[in-house]
Symmetry: C4
Subunit: 282 residues, 4 copies
């Protein structure tokens, strides 16, 4: 009985540490996890740089194993201490946790039969660990709400941008020859979006006067319509900020400059009958 | 008599499906049309890629014919089921529908007499089918209203940008030689707009110190004045959102400047029958 | 006496046409002037394109002479019909009008003694004619007021951007070698502004990892601080729009939910003494 | 005694000139300092341009010594005339003043033992003199407050942008080969940020169709999310402008939800001692 009890107690304690951030231990766990994820993502990035991988291959592999083992422990602990493990396993974070842990094991299982390149691709899945950091963005509710509220409008906007890009891209394909890099309509549409969003790589650029004229129109168009998503989000954020302000609005009331006849304090509520300071009648 | 009736019923049923989106059939028709348009635009784009056109020419042509026949049926059905066909034919959507259907037929009509190059140009007209998607942007009334309201201001703004670009482009033409790519004033003006809108291809870039100094000023100018269209649209959208909010606010009504004949008071409700001050009839 | 009178009448009539836009003749004059300016600027631009100048030199010269003569007539008429000619001559528009008219004459005066290049430079002064179009932007008072009101803040902002650019440019000069194009601090500062304003030519680009890291920081910085001028102008425009709205505000009054005791109509003005509908006392 | 007095008087007079800008002398001092800093920064920048340094080395060195001596005098005067020198020395401005003065001396101290390259690096420290100009940005309190208030949200936003960049950069690394310049994940992430912030150098650009497709998505994403910081700062500035307006509004105070024990009324001032309704003590 006692053992079951202590076991339950152990489980719930671990659960508290892993799943909640209110206790001191929970906070430490979150900070540790944060650092581990950052390190693991840095490892994947460094490994992709050839000369670093060639020089420090062993160190990177050892660090990789340490991270993978720690993530494995975390993953098992999460499953062991939760009441409904399957809900977690197939949840958004559950799948990310699994995908973050598995690549190194997979690289050993398929090492004999598969090529090295595919292995690397599997390893890169670990970059999704960075999505775990989404947890730490929790306080950004205002941002999220504003984006959620303006999602429909921004979708309509981007769709309109896409329609315009297809038409202007086709026009540019007809106007500019292949010399300037406009080799097909998809490429022209790609160039139009590069220009419309003011990115402007310059790998493809119009060379004929009429092409440059149309390009100028596209640029000014892009310069003008960048205002649209900005306007949408700004208005939505303004609303969100007002909602926030108004929701707690009953805590602000209008006060007048009437002075209490007894204590001379000012700033009474408009509907006050007694002084808030000395209690004498007003 | 009965046959006429059923015929009328058939016409109105088709009309309902094609022109309205409220019924289940109407919705299905809209979704089908949406997919057809997307496919038809993709076909035009893929056909312009040389290796795709070379390898899959036959498949693309068959698909193109299927799309064209379906669009032809739709176009005829639209004309047949509407009361005033000519109003539809010369309406915005009517012209788009016609231009979306005709290119493939045209390519066969002119095949004997015209060159292959012109044929390709005709085929590309099909890209305008994407404009049919404008129908699906119908709910974006806030966006449209905000843009409509700020159109005059944005036109003035773009005109001012153009004046500045011509002057700065001429200055750059004088400062930078032809080595840097500033071969004529139109090219310099093109470069100035590329810079001012923060696109920055880099196909033309200043190389002299004084040219780079002026370029810096142009960039900072562009960085500063991008705020202008954004400000215009944001304020306009804020207004639109407020108008929407206020429209249901029964505590604020519009009053007119009509003066009471008895007491000369102004500011009566638009629907007032008596003066709010003295009570005499208006 | 009569002749003086008619002369005065002639002068004031011309004055009305040239300086005012309210009369039909004045409007026609403005539109004609607008078209003339556009043509004259196009001439300057086309003349700078080598092959156009080589092929159509004679036509361009004739058109240039026509424009110059018309501008000369306008300039003389402006001086002749105004009461205080010197005030006009040294005003902003007066100087522009003079600079727009003089280049062609100058090119003949100095033709013998000066080189052809300087001639071209004089001719290019005519591009300033486009500034005459500023007259036609008159209705953009909201834009101008908002920009005027936010000028101080935007100056402070651009000054801060410049300080940041000098420091980051110096850092990049130390980090990146000359291979990447960072040959001196001014060039590095130029690159930093190109990056910070999101123009990004690509003529100079970091190649070392640490350089690319700093470049990333500069880009994110630029992406973030582009919000500042936008915010300034938007808030200022919102204010301007409110000022405008409030100034004509007397057509909207607050109404209450008090119901008339006779006809039960609600929505009376707060200061109403009688029902607006039936006229009975409230 | 008299000498001490006059010395004190001298000290306080200098203190007034250096530290305050209200007196005429203080204003002149500030303007002189402003010009000196601009000159000193220009000197550092010019010195880095090879041909200028080669041709005018002597003049630059002399000017550099004059500036350094003047800054030394200013630094000593600041320490001498302030009551708590150590507070100044370790303050933000104190450290900047020190760093602005020391480089030239350092270059002589280390001249014998160190290499020329390190010398140049020391000299470049002088560019930090530009930070002295921060003093002159003092009136930009609205800007600073708005940025301070929106700092947390912008940090969250930039962090989210970074996460997205790492994921999209990794995807691009897998999709595009090394031919296009995507040689490692860090480089790909660098490219993603270059694209997302709409800088777009073009030194690295996708060449495969699938790469260009993903690039298009990244650009549209960047075009859309540039709205976020803009929205944040605009709303915050709008608030600041309102706060400024409201700050003189003593007629609004914060009230709490504490209920009076006698009459159960809520909404007392935070500093209330008596119920405003019945007068009983709280």
């Amino acid at each position: 009985m006692a053992s079951t009890k202590s076991e339950k107690g152990w489980k719930s304690r671990v659960h508290e540490i892993i799943y909640e951030a209110d206790t001191p231990m929970g906070k430490w766990f979150d900070i540790l996890l944060f650092i581990l994820i950052i390190i693991s993502v840095l490892l994947v990035m460094l490994e992709s740089v050839k000369w670093i991988d060639a020089t420090y291959h062993r160190i990177l592999l050892v660090l990789e194993w340490i991270i993978t083992i720690l993530f494995t422990i975390e993953y098992i602990a999460r499953i062991a201490t939760i009441k409904k493990p399957w809900t977690y396993i197939f949840s958004f974070y559950g799948i990310i946790d699994f995908l973050s842990t598995i690549p190194l094991y997979l690289s050993y299982i398929f090492a004999g039969s598969q090529a090295l390149l595919t292995l690397r691709a599997f390893r890169l899945l670990r970059v999704f660990r960075i999505l775990k950091l989404v947890r730490f963005l929790g306080e950004a509710s205002l941002l999220r709400n504003a984006l959620k509220a303006s999602r429909a409008k921004i979708t309509v906007f981007l769709f309109a941008v896409f329609i315009v890009s297809v038409i202007l891209g086709t026009v540019m394909f007809l106007v500019e020859g292949e010399e300037a890099g406009f080799t097909s309509i998809p490429t022209s549409v790609y160039w139009t979006i590069v220009t419309l969003t003011t990115v402007g790589y310059g790998d493809i650029a119009p060379i004929t006067p009429q092409g440059q004229l149309i390009a100028t129109v596209i640029m000014l168009l892009g310069y003008g319509i960048i205002a649209v998503p900005t306007g949408i989000v700004t208005v939505e954020m303004g609303k969100q900020a007002n909602v926030k302000k108004d929701s707690g609005n009953e805590h602000f009331v209008h006060v007048n400059t009437q002075a209490c006849t007894t204590c001379s304090k000012e700033g009474h509520r408009d509907d006050a009958k007694h002084c808030y300071n000395c209690g004498s009648e007003l």
